[in-house]
């Protein structure tokens, strides 16, 4: 009896210790998760607070007179006239009419510097879309220069950044603001244009299209090749020293720094096979090399997780090995394979280093429309903008990061969703 209560008290003693250890362990876990979430929160806060401004741009409202004489044209259908036309005169004249008492060459130049140097071409496009406007007057919101944009946004926030402004320019802006002729509007250029030297005219459309084309190329190559390799290795290849050797090397390949794949692509695809530089084809080929190991490894894991009893059942029914794989193993392994492919694609979407090696870092203004058009990709665009000296590119960089992150979030969410959706239980 005595003995028994002794044991009990010992157990109780150790129990409190065990419970304390467990509680401590739980707190370690919570701290770890908290630190992780904190890092994500800081990242998002930083990027969003820097980048949210890029979604709006400064516009100035001007009374434009589409005067054929001023532009120097008489026929809107004549392309030669159109390209020779003095389009900048439209906005400059309107601005001078707005501030008639500005005199002196320097002041006049400063005045026209309020507007983006692409403003004339925007007006040209607008006129071509609405030819009935020729010879008439219209109030138009015209894009402002990036220095004005930066100043105006910071001024609205109460912390004016005027290092690149003259006193007169500051005064003009104040006057325009008083008359409600300057405002922030949604920056559609960000989503509809390619890269530009002028921050206010630069957009991510080119980079998004480049990323899209490159990823399509990567997916079309790496998914079939990776899945075939995985199926062959798991289901058909004999298990011997050779297949072990191959497995070790696939795992090695997955850990090779990505810039080395870029050098490999440069040496093989560009220098040996003479694939053109900077195009999505060569980007896709290089990223295929990079994502193949990921796809092979996840596909093999997915195939391995199909229970052997299903294979036996199929073989026992007289299915050939090919039918067994096609009818039973593949459908069950597909969700895992797709998840792996999407994760591989997400990796490829964020990859920068190998693409620098194959010329996708070039400054490309035109939006790529095909696999053989020169292109750049989103992360490289971010790299290029982060490297630019203009202050206005800071918020553009963060905006591009936000777009890239939202694509990544969409892809990873769809991977989880697909797996839940397609997963079958047995």
């Amino acid at each position: 009896m005595n003995n028994r209560s002794d044991t009990l008290s010992k157990i109780q003693h150790s129990l409190t210790r065990r419970n304390r250890a467990e509680a401590r362990f739980r707190w370690y876990g919570r701290c770890a998760i908290f630190i992780g979430l904190l890092a994500v929160a800081v990242l998002f806060f930083d990027i969003i607070s820097k980048g949210h401004g890029a979604f709006r741009a400064t516009y100035i409202k001007l009374d434009i007179h589409y005067d054929p004489e001023l532009i120097g044209i008489n026929n809107l259908a004549d392309n030669e006239q159109l390209s020779a036309g003095n389009w900048q005169a439209l906005s400059k004249t309107a601005l001078r009419n707005k501030f008639p008492d500005v005199s002196g060459r320097q002041d006049k130049r400063r005045l026209s510097k309020l507007l983006s140097n692409g403003a004339g071409f925007d007006l040209k496009d607008h006129l071509l879309a609405n030819p009935q406007l020729l010879g008439k007057k219209e109030s138009v919101w015209v894009l402002a220069d990036d220095d004005i944009d930066t100043y105006f946004k910071s001024w609205l926030d109460g912390d004016a950044y005027d290092a690149r402004m003259t006193a007169k320019q500051v005064q003009w802006i104040a006057q325009l603001h008083q008359e409600d002729l300057i405002a922030l509007k949604f920056n559609s250029n960000l989503f509809s244009r390619g890269d530009s030297r002028e921050p206010e005219q630069a957009g991510i459309r080119g980079a998004v299209m480049g990323s899209f084309l490159t990823l399509i190329m990567t997916l079309m190559l790496s998914f079939p090749i990776g899945v075939s390799a995985a199926i062959y290795l798991e289901e058909f290849a004999p298990k011997n020293r050779w297949t072990d050797f191959i497995e070790v090397n696939i795992n090695n390949l997955a850990a090779v720094p990505s810039i080395i794949f870029g050098l490999l692509g440069l040496a093989i695809f560009i220098n040996f096979f003479h694939v053109p530089r900077s195009v999505p084809i060569v980007g896709g080929l290089v990223l295929t090399l990079m994502t193949l190991p990921t796809i092979i490894i996840t596909s093999r894991a997915a195939i391995k997780s199909v229970p052997p009893s299903i294979r036996e059942a199929a073989l026992g029914m007289g299915a050939s090995k090919y039918q067994m794989v096609l009818h039973h193993v593949l459908p069950l392994a597909l969700p895992g394979m797709l998840t792996g492919a999407i994760i591989g694609m997400a990796q490829a979407l964020g990859e920068t280093a190998p693409l620098l090696m194959i010329g996708m870092v070039a400054f490309i203004v035109d939006i790529p429309n095909g696999f053989s058009d020169p292109a750049t990709v989103l992360p490289v665009q971010i790299f290029l903008w982060a490297d630019s000296p203009e202050r206005a590119f800071i918020e553009k960089t963060s905006a591009a990061i936000m777009v890239l992150l939202s694509f990544l979030i969409i892809m990873n969410t769809s991977a989880v969703w697909l797996r839940k959706r397609l997963e079958r239980r047995w």
Binding site: S309, I310, E312, A313, G316, M317, G318, A319
Partner: protein
Amino acid sequence: MKLASEQTLELDEGHVTVGQSFSDDPKMTMRNINVFYAEKQAIYDVSIDITKNEVIAMIGPSGCGKSTFLRTLNRMNDTVDGCRVEGDICMDGENLYAPNLDVVELRARVGMVFQKPNPFPKSIRDNVTYGPKIHGLADTRVDLDEILEKSLRKAGLWEEVKDRLDQPGTGLSGGQQQRLCIARAIAVSPEVILMDEPCSALDPIATAKIEELIEELSQNFTIAIVTHSMQQAARVSHRTAYFHLGKLIEVNPTEQVFTMPQHQLTEAYITGRFG
């Protein structure tokens, strides 16, 4: 009583199977079968006939090679790396291990039911019609539906599932799943059905149903069944083969095996002295 047969429980090297291992009207004949897993020998020099339309039960302690032996009959051992089969196995006089024989055809003729019910994670209909589809046994949907109903009826499952043929086969109970697997196996009209401990994962009621089914099926099929349960062997089989450490000890009509075993080892096993 101290085992009088203690000395004889050790098998002599040149053991010869006792009893009636051969048949006048054989469906399958096995002669001098040796099976190796890499270096390890699993089956030693087994010779036996399987008669047409009989139910033959294979019993023996765990690891005695009865499942391995069963799997040589439809060459399921081919899928195991390093497995080697020596000797002659013939069905209707045709050598099953001949180089020009296609295992796909063989497995259509020799069906198999496994220890754990393993329906495909597809509908009940797809489970049963899978075999006929891949072997091209039916041309139209009507033919397929006919096979489906016939097979499910033979497996005694039709009444229970006829209203939910398009629901997943994996949603059935364990016993129903196993009968679905039997329906799937008989849908291609095999000549021989191999059963590898088909009831070991089932409760007694489901087991009774399967045993009843085996009895009915024996009118049309030749059945070889491996079982852990001696009672089951006694209930369903016509002949019983006793395996011990990879050797075939005794083959005799079931009644005789369980009442007057010829070999001491058989007797020791069925009276529960080991196993």
